[in-house]
């Protein structure tokens, strides 16, 4: 059994050290049967993506799109909690900068995010673990930390109800604040909160997350996901989201198409990025895209491969990043300098947003350092290829053959069509492991 010690991030004011959890009483205004009667929250039912078919609405926009309804709701409710002092610190008072370099990694000096507490043990060798009601989970958050209910509506139109009762019989999903925010507007999306789903991807939940990205209609509002073993600290299904008004380095990385599925989903691999990742986009509908990604993630889960997901570009682009940092850490294979920064490469870090605790780390932050840290999380090229094979099989692109000449590879798909696929690198040699001298490959 592989374990590492970490101080978990506190995402709710009701989250305590595991040991002290016996004193679960109430009067805390939580979501348990004790407090839920009479509880009300605004409900935002977004438009059904199938019924309002157009994925991209840019063609007849008259202007830079105004702040959308969902964005106003998120920001307005967040600002309300901000002014009420529900957050552990004022994230806007944390200095932040873009690190000079080709990719524009973002560094933030945040001494308050991480507690100086005794670290807890996390098991990092199992991506699938059952829900444990005795541990902290989102049914224990105070209702004041919840902003609104969110669901995929039936209609072609948005429906909003400012004050809807929370109905335990009717499985509802909520958006909550993260009391240790990385940026202004950092929220958690918790699908079907009372169903107490463990942290694992399922088709319905991922689709809900994609709906939210689409509905926010702002490419700077992304959703992220960490699997167990990839730095999720709470084993209760949740996604995170926040606003950062610039592209993530991950979004800037060049890509190379690998394959297109029957439903038109294009899968590419990232080039020249410290963490080997896949990009899913296209598809004849957003559901096709979301389902393909879910299929891939279920495959990773079943093969016990930790991974992170970034939903970007209003749900049009979904990155999947398999990783192995925690395993390396447990086996003592991560370099001490990297460990000392205490930066865990979860979805936001891999995307290029680094929250640093120590002033020295912040002052000395460089693209090289960021690269080196993230490279530790990446699968090796060989392992990445193996994992991709597993994924392609799972999503229905099987019997991949490698052409030793390396230029064209044909793939059989079940109904007999033929795909063209390039599987090797043409330019610049193989993806490096990102050591300092090899980073300069970009120049």
């Amino acid at each position: 059994m592989l374990k590492i010690k970490r101080v978990p991030t506190v995402v709710s004011n009701y989250q305590k050290n595991e040991a002290a959890d016996d004193s679960v009483g109430c009067g805390r205004n939580c979501l348990g049967a004790c407090c839920i009667n009479g509880a009300r929250l605004p409900l935002y039912a977004c438009k059904n993506l199938e019924k309002s078919r157009e994925k991209i609405v840019v063609s007849h926009e008259a202007e830079e799109p105004p702040v959308a309804f969902l964005e106003s709701l998120v920001l307005g409710e967040w600002e309300d909690r901000f002014q009420r002092g529900l957050f552990r610190y004022d994230v806007t008072a944390c200095e932040t900068k873009v690190i000079p370099g080709k990719y524009g990694f973002v560094a933030q000096l945040n001494e308050g995010r991480h507690l100086k507490k005794r670290p807890t043990e996390f098991r990092v060798d199992k991506v699938l673990q059952s829900f444990d009601g005795s541990k902290f989970n989102f049914t224990k958050v105070g209702q004041e930390e919840l902003l609104f209910q969110f669901e995929a509506g039936e209609d072609g139109q948005v429906q909003f109800f400012p004050c809807m009762p929370l109905d335990p019989e009717n499985s509802f999903s909520v958006v909550a604040i993260n009391v240790s925010p990385i940026e202004y507007g950092h929220v958690l999306l918790i699908p079907r909160v009372l169903d107490c789903l463990p942290q694992r991807i399922d088709h319905k939940s991922l689709l809900l997350a994609v709906h939210m990205a689409a509905e926010a209609a702002n490419p700077y509002f992304r959703l992220g996901y960490n699997s167990l073993g990839a730095f999720a600290t709470i084993n209760h299904l949740h996604f995170q989201a926040y606003y950062l008004a610039m592209p993530f380095p991950l979004e800037r990385a060049p890509t190379k198409k690998m394959v297109t599925t029957v439903s038109g989903v294009k899968i590419s691999e990232l080039l020249n990025y410290p963490v080997r990742s896949l990009l899913f986009e296209g598809g004849s509908s957003m559901q096709d895209l979301s389902d393909t990604v879910s299929d891939a993630c279920v495959c990773l889960q079943n093969n016990n491969i930790p991974f992170n997901i970034l939903i970007a570009d209003c749900g049009r682009q979904i990155f999947v990043m398999p990783q192995c940092y925690a395993e390396k850490q447990a086996l003592g294979e991560v370099s001490p300098e990297v460990l000392e920064t205490q930066v865990n490469p979860a979805v936001w870090e891999i995307s290029g947003h680094m929250v640093l605790k120590r002033k020295d780390d912040y002052e000395g932050a460089s693209e090289e350092n960021a690269w080196r840290l993230l490279a530790e999380a990446s699968l090796s090229e060989e392992r990445f290829k193996e994992v991709n094979t597993l994924i392609f099989e799972a999503i229905g692109c099987s019997d991949q053959e490698e052409d030793p000449e390396g230029t064209i590879v044909h793939q059989q798909i079940p109904n007999g069509g033929v795909f063209n696929q390039k599987s090797n690198r043409i330019h610049g040699g193989p993806i490096t492991n990102g050591t300092a001298s090899e980073c300069i490959v970009l120049q």
């Binding site: 840019v58 920001l75 307005g76 409710e77 909003f160 202004y184 064209i408």
Partner: protein, 401 residues
């Protein structure tokens, strides 16, 4: 909505949009620009929505629209479902970072038919203050006959194609246009070069097309420079001085322009805490023009019957760096010179350094407080403005070098 179907053309642009170029460059600028043969558009980032304020005759011919249908629109208007997302991001980032960009782009004509063009955009700076005055974009149609890549799809016999499935990322152009692209003439089946061009992943412009783009940009810039000399407020293609501290970047202004409610930003670090930004809705609410309010302290909205204890309360909050909400009687400059009760919320706003850079003031006219049941509560709406401003201000200083 389809302007194409209406027999009489409806103007979508405002007076500000129509007059934008005249104000900066003197009255004859449009005639001078009309003499250029190129396809180009000029936008004004300081107007809400970052609209097009000039479109050349060549551009109109290329896209099939009339001038009235284009002025006031954002450049996104010409994009469509198959426009490459990375290219859109590159353009957005170039605008945000106030720098130039050259990228192949799929656009759509009024008829709905798509076409590829080489899009080359540059910022135009005020020589004295380093502010971005306009963005100029040139569009050179490209045929891509020899240089394009198709998306492969089920059933295609693609064995004859030797193409590198390389999609350009959005890191610096120098990286992307380094050794990767040069003259890869790809053998392409010619039978469907017009149809299916929407599905091309990428369409490379030829060297001569790229040169034409550069030439066009230089010509447009020359005209603007010359006419800016006449008006005494020079512009140029390079930034000659760092933008002044009290000058908002064009990208911040564009972000703030997305917020449709009434609000102002004031600068507490400058004596008498002047207004440095006012939304269109603020101007409508108060009846003032933009040039009348910028640089002024908000006290011009107070009058004889404004409660001075409320003003005192606000002043105390500002000194302490706290938020507050007050109900204050304001005097408008609207035609009827009416007074109105302003439910005003003010709050300090920090920038990327973590220090307070501005104060935001969000005005809600008290009589408008009745919510429709399907809308956000007025309090939420008001606070959402504060939130949106916080995000915009915090990100605006974080520009990549």
């Amino acid at each position: 909505m389809s302007l194409a179907e209406e027999s009489s053309v409806v103007s979508v642009f405002t007076e500000e949009e129509e007059e934008s170029l005249n104000r900066r460059y003197t009255l004859w600028i449009k005639e001078a620009l009309d003499e250029l043969p190129h396809n180009f558009t000029i936008t004004d980032p300081f107007l809400s929505g970052h609209p097009i304020v000039f479109a050349s005759l060549g551009f109109l011919k290329m896209t099939g629209y009339s001038r009235a249908e284009v002025i006031g629109r954002n450049g996104k208007f010409f994009q469509g479902p198959k426009t490459n997302r990375r290219s859109i991001m590159e353009i957005r980032e170039a605008i945000r970072e106030e720098r130039s960009v050259q990228v192949s782009l799929l656009n759509y004509r009024k008829s709905g038919s798509p076409f590829w063009m080489l899009f080359h955009m540059i910022p135009v700076f005020g020589r004295d203050d380093g502010k971005v005055i306009n963005f100029v974009a040139v569009q050179v149609p490209i045929s891509g006959r020899d240089h394009h890549r198709k998306l492969t799809s089920v059933g295609d016999d693609v064995s004859s194609l030797d193409h590198s499935e390389f999609v350009f990322g959005s890191c610096r152009r120098e990286v992307c246009f380094g050794n990767f692209v040069q003259h890869r003439a790809l053998p392409v089946e010619c039978d469907d070069d017009e149809q299916g061009l929407e599905d091309w992943e990428y369409c490379e412009a030829s060297e001569s097309e790229k040169l034409r783009a550069v030439e066009a940009i230089n010509n447009v810039l020359s005209v603007l420079t010359r006419y800016s000399e006449l008006s005494g407020r020079l512009v140029c293609g390079k930034r000659y001085c760092l933008r002044g501290v009290d000058c908002l970047s064009s990208s911040l202004v564009i972000s703030l322009g997305r917020i449709k409610q009434s609000f102002v930003l004031t600068n507490p670090c400058i004596p008498d805490m002047p207004i440095i930004y006012a939304s269109d809705a603020f101007l409508t609410l108060t009846g003032y023009k933009r040039h009348e309010v910028l640089g002024q302290n908000c006290r011009f909205l107070s009058g004889v019957d404004t409660d001075s204890s409320v003003l005192y309360e606000m002043k105390e909050c500002i000194l302490k760096g706290q938020s507050c909400t007050v109900q204050i009687l304001n005097y408008s400059n609207r035609k009827d010179k009416s007074t109105f009760w302003n439910l005003l919320h003010i709050s300090p706003v920090r920038n990327a350094s973590g220090k307070t850079a501005y104060f935001v003031g969000v005005q809600v006219e008290a009589s408008c407080r009745n919510t429709e049941s399907k809308e956000l509560r007025p309090e939420t709406k008001q606070l959402s403005v504060v939130g949106a401003v916080r995000v915009a201000v915090r990100s605006s200083f974080m520009v990549t070098c």
